[in-house]
């Protein structure tokens, strides 16, 4: 596997401008000769599809939902960062770049992050022009707030639904192009394989989820904007349909998968109510400004009504361990501390997974009306889900899987090591290193789709020339046969267990051994149990119904089958990365006060995994990371 990041020469401030000036272009009259396949219609996919279509390329866009407007970008609440410096509080492109590299614990590629910060300002301009109703001040100008990991106010927001509003902006631009006939939209289609012709990505095999037909699509290039793999844990804040299949199929066709062990665990989610739980819901991190986190000091108090537990019998463990940051300790630290308290037998919720977030002190100090004004909608949401009134009794919270920083490896042009295969948004690995800062996912998705890919994809197209292959060529025959063979196999087993039950079991293994805290012994155990579970799946799964027509269980079985393979690669990566960094915490590598201890000598690199055959250990390749602008430092919360 050849990994050339293709980072342009020159000072970091000039790389992107120089690069744009040097790439090849396609003449406007020739663009209609090219066909681009885009898989996914979230922020990255929709914005890329709309922009390429505006330029004159023919675009086919695929999504598994019934409408492109429903992609999971829609669920993002908090906001989107941009270095506009509207508050004149010292923000700049450089500072956003610096915060992102540092927040990523020095495991992101500098040049990509700098470009992200540069493009952030254009995103806001574009979204406002589309009619995105951002929050405004009385003067009519855009409002900003601050977010974790930054000392400036640079986060733009639209109430608690920023993701929805940005997605609807991209969806409207996409809809316009669909109306003009420049984009062909295929809803309820799922990509099941990537087709390579002479080593270049030239098509996909997709299943029409309504008719059940397996279809062949060819193009001059393939763009994956298919999101993250958080659902490998079964329970996460992701939507039910989020899956790794498209990215994993590309990996099996030769694309390198980078840093799969980097996952982000959000500390404040509503805990599991029981074994019937299907997903976890996030509660905004802002609650920790006024809430105090605690568990009882004694395990026998855990079942008691929290309001009768005396002050001296409570362990405000964040305040105890991190006196200067207290309840506002960073995401990874807070998450791990909750796990430690629960592992110590002091959980206050089902299954040993829950701690209190208590507002009684804040209510006594400020009054209920102030708390209601600040967090009313969150308390309402909490009550809707749990049935509890958090003004009267402490909230129960627990960390949950939220975002995955790893993804398919891409170069500076967002092209994977497979020529013609581009990867955008959460599906790629490039910008967040080992930990993503809040309000940066939306920024990356839109930067990739609106501003990066439309400048880099044409260069590839111009170099290879127009001429997509016939869908009747041999590589398509072969890929379709393999997809159909796999589906037939899934349908023919007719065992005793549902795909969902396997998914739940896999999730438990991953959460236990490859979750918030990992260690060598646990990962080795996971690496024994995952192949065994996978084998059982292929012996005993039961997929009801037919291949023809809508069959959600067949869709699920295919996705679970891929998660069962992918999980193993994730554990290999977590085991190999014998250091702690960002969201990847190896218990063997921590400072005395429990902070992640990086090993820059050995691990200042991207780990890129190459598929070597089913069930075989993937082969590791390395892209070294060079820091010319930001120097290694330890993140400190003192």
């Amino acid at each position: 596997m050849k990994l050339d990041a293709k980072i342009p020469e020159g000072p970091i401030q000039e790389k992107w401008e120089n690069h744009k000036a040097s790439v090849k272009l396609v003449n406007p009259a020739n663009r209609r000769k090219y066909h681009v396949i885009i898989v996914g219609s979230g922020l990255a996919g929709a914005s890329a599809a709309a922009t390429l279509a505006e330029q004159g390329y023919n675009v086919s866009c695929f999504c598994y939902q019934d409408s492109p407007r429903r992609a999971h970008s829609i669920a993002a609440q908090g906001g989107i960062n941009a270095a506009k410096n509207y508050h004149s509080d010292g923000d700049s492109v450089y500072r956003l770049f610096y915060d992102t590299v540092k927040g990523g614990d020095f495991r992101a590629r500098e040049a990509n992050v700098y470009r992200l910060a540069q493009e952030s300002v254009n995103i806001i301009d574009q979204c406002v022009a589309q009619g995105v109703p951002f929050a405004r001040e009385y003067g009519g100008y855009l409002a900003n707030r601050s977010f974790g990991g930054a000392q400036v106010s640079r986060t733009f927001y639209a109430r608690g639904q920023t993701g929805q509003q940005l997605l609807l902006g991209a969806y409207s631009a996409l809809s316009r192009q669909i109306g003009l006939g420049q984009v062909k939209m295929y809803n309820r289609h799922e990509m099941l394989d990537l087709v390579l012709v002479d080593g270049h990505a030239k098509g996909i095999i997709a299943r029409n989820l309504v008719t059940g037909e397996v279809e062949r699509w060819s193009g001059d290039a393939v763009v994956l904007a298919t999101g993250g793999y958080g659902n490998v844990f079964f329970l996460s804040t992701n939507a039910q349909g989020c899956n790794v299949t498209a990215a994993y199929r590309a990996y099996k066709r030769g694309a390198g998968f980078a840093n799969p062990c980097y996952t982000q665990i959000h500390p404040t989610c509503i805990p599991q109510h029981g074994d019937q739980q299907s997903k976890l819901t996030l509660m905004s991190e802002s609650l920790r400004n006024d809430g105090r986190v605690w568990v009882p000091k004694r395990a026998e108090d855990c079942q008691k009504n929290p309001n009768i537990i005396a002050e001296q019998d409570r362990d405000y463990y964040l305040e105890r361990k991190y006196p200067s940051f207290g309840n506002l300790a960073p995401r990874d630290i807070s998450s791990r501390a909750a796990k430690e308290a629960c592992d110590d037998g002091r959980s206050i919720a089902h299954g040993g997974q829950g701690v209190y977030l208590d507002f009684s002190d804040a209510i006594n100090r400020l009054g209920e009306s102030v708390i209601r004004e600040r967090y009313g909608n969150l308390f309402e949401m909490y009550e809707r889900i749990t049935g509890d009134n958090a003004y009267k009794t402490p909230m129960k919270i627990y960390p949950a899987v939220h975002y995955t920083m790893g993804g398919l490896w891409v170069d500076y042009n967002l092209m994977s090591n497979v020529p013609g295969l581009f990867v955008l948004g959460e599906a790629n690995f490039s910008d967040h290193g080992a930990n993503r800062l809040g309000a940066s996912a939306l920024m990356q998705g839109l930067a990739d789709g609106y501003f990066v890919l439309p400048n880099t994809l044409p260069d590839y197209l111009a170099r290879v020339g127009a001429g997509r292959p016939s869908v009747n060529s041999e590589p398509f025959n072969q890929a379709e046969a393999s997809v159909k063979g796999r589906m037939d196999k899934l349908m023919s087993i007719q065992g005793k267990r549902s795909a969902r039950s396997f998914h739940m079991e896999l999730g438990k293994i991953m959460w236990e051994y490859c979750g918030m805290a990992r260690n060598e012994a646990g990962l080795k155990k996971a690496l024994e149990r995952i192949p065994a579970l996978r084998e059982e799946f292929w012996q005993d799964v039961r997929v009801p119904g037919q291949k023809e027509g809508l069959n959600p269980e067949l869709e699920r079985a295919g996705r679970v089958a891929d998660f069962l393979e992918f999980a193993e690669m994730m554990c290999y990566d977590a085991l190999d990365r014998d250091e702690s960094c960002g969201g990847h915490f190896r218990t063997e590598h921590q400072t005395d006060d429990g902070e992640a201890k990086r090993d820059d000598e050995r691990f200042a690199h991207v780990s890129v995994w190459e598929h070597t055959g089913e069930g075989a250990r993937p082969e590791k390749h390395v892209e070294p990371l060079h820091y010319e602008e930001v120097h290694f430092a330890t993140r400190s919360y003192k």
Binding site: A50, E54, Q65, D66, S67, R69, R70, H72, I74, A75, K84, I124, D125, Q126, C127, A129, Q130, G131, P133, F134, A135, R136, E137, Y138, G140, Y141, L142, R159, Q161, G163, Q164, Q165, S172, A173, S175, R176, M185, N187, V210, T237, A239, Q240, H273, G274, Q276, Q277, S278, T281, R384, I385, G387, Y450, S498, S501, R542, P544, G545, G549, L550, P552
Partner: protein, 254 residues
């Protein structure tokens, strides 16, 4: 909890459907409505029967995918709550719950509780956008937008496109959905240049997709999980009338 379910089963758009009865026991009162359906489906798979197909994705009330009519009401009994955010504690032990798909002619049933809502996308493709190319936008703060207008636009933009409004309406009218989009874009300065063109195109697309007319039943407003106000329909009607009058006097301009 023990529950009796009466669920609409229909194999495909062209075949006839019918209600089927199921009984579930041991459902947690803390489970969500869709988790209750997950339990049913696990039970059906164990019995070697075909599970119930239903649409769902984010399960946090924002993607607009879930689309169940529960005891005759789209999204069920709780106000301002999507089916995925509805929890079983709002039902009684031993209760019979009737679950149907959206019932509206423009939304044909694909299978069981899954319907086809692509006519909403068609309306959006006709005019639900501001025609601005990527890169053609001016500096974001160049045009101030008064806060009340921004808030009004945001209220309308909160629509999740679930289609409950259509399902609740005797006429299967989509005017709350279309009105929300028109009000959002037409009220902002960025949407003004295409105001007339937009409303006429979207109303025409809505009519040709087979959605009915508004008769002020206001059922749509009552079931809307995002509490979109009927005012958006009034605004759409005003904008439409004004566009049509302008068109009448100056046909060449639009």
């Amino acid at each position: 909890m023990k529950l009796h379910l009466k669920i609409w089963r229909q194999n495909s758009a062209t075949e006839k459907g019918a209600f089927e009865r199921y009984t579930l026991s041991d459902v947690s009162a803390d489970a969500s409505f869709l988790e209750m359906l997950d339990i049913l489906n696990e039970q059906l798979i164990a019995e070697n029967k075909d599970p119930v197909a239903f649409d769902h994705d984010c399960r946090e009330g924002i993607c607009g995918m879930c689309s169940l009519t529960i005891n005759g009401v789209p999204h069920g009994p709780e106000r301002a709550t999507t089916a995925c955010q509805l929890h079983m504690r709002h039902f009684k032990d031993g209760e019979t719950i009737v679950i149907e798909p959206w019932r509206a002619k423009p939304f044909p049933v694909t299978k069981d509780l899954v319907v086809d809502r692509t006519p909403f996308d068609s309306v959006m493709q006709a005019g639900g956008f501001v025609s601005v190319r990527t890169g053609a936008s001016p500096e974001a703060n160049a045009t101030p937008v008064p806060k009340p207008i921004a808030e009004y636009a945001m209220d309308a933009a909160a629509c999740i496109g679930c289609g409950a409004c259509v399902a609740a309406c005797k006429n299967a009218s989509a005017m709350l959905f279309v009105g929300a989009k028109v009000s959002h874009l037409n009220s902002l300065p960025q949407g003004k240049p295409e105001k007339d063109r937009r409303v006429v195109a979207m109303v025409e697309a809505m009519d040709s997709a087979g959605f009915g007319n508004c008769r002020n039943y206001a059922e749509c407003e009552a079931v809307c999980p995002k509490e979109i106000s009927l005012d958006v329909i009034a605004q759409m009607n005003r904008d439409y009338a004004s566009a049509k009058i302008k068109q009448f006097f100056a046909p060449a301009e639009s």
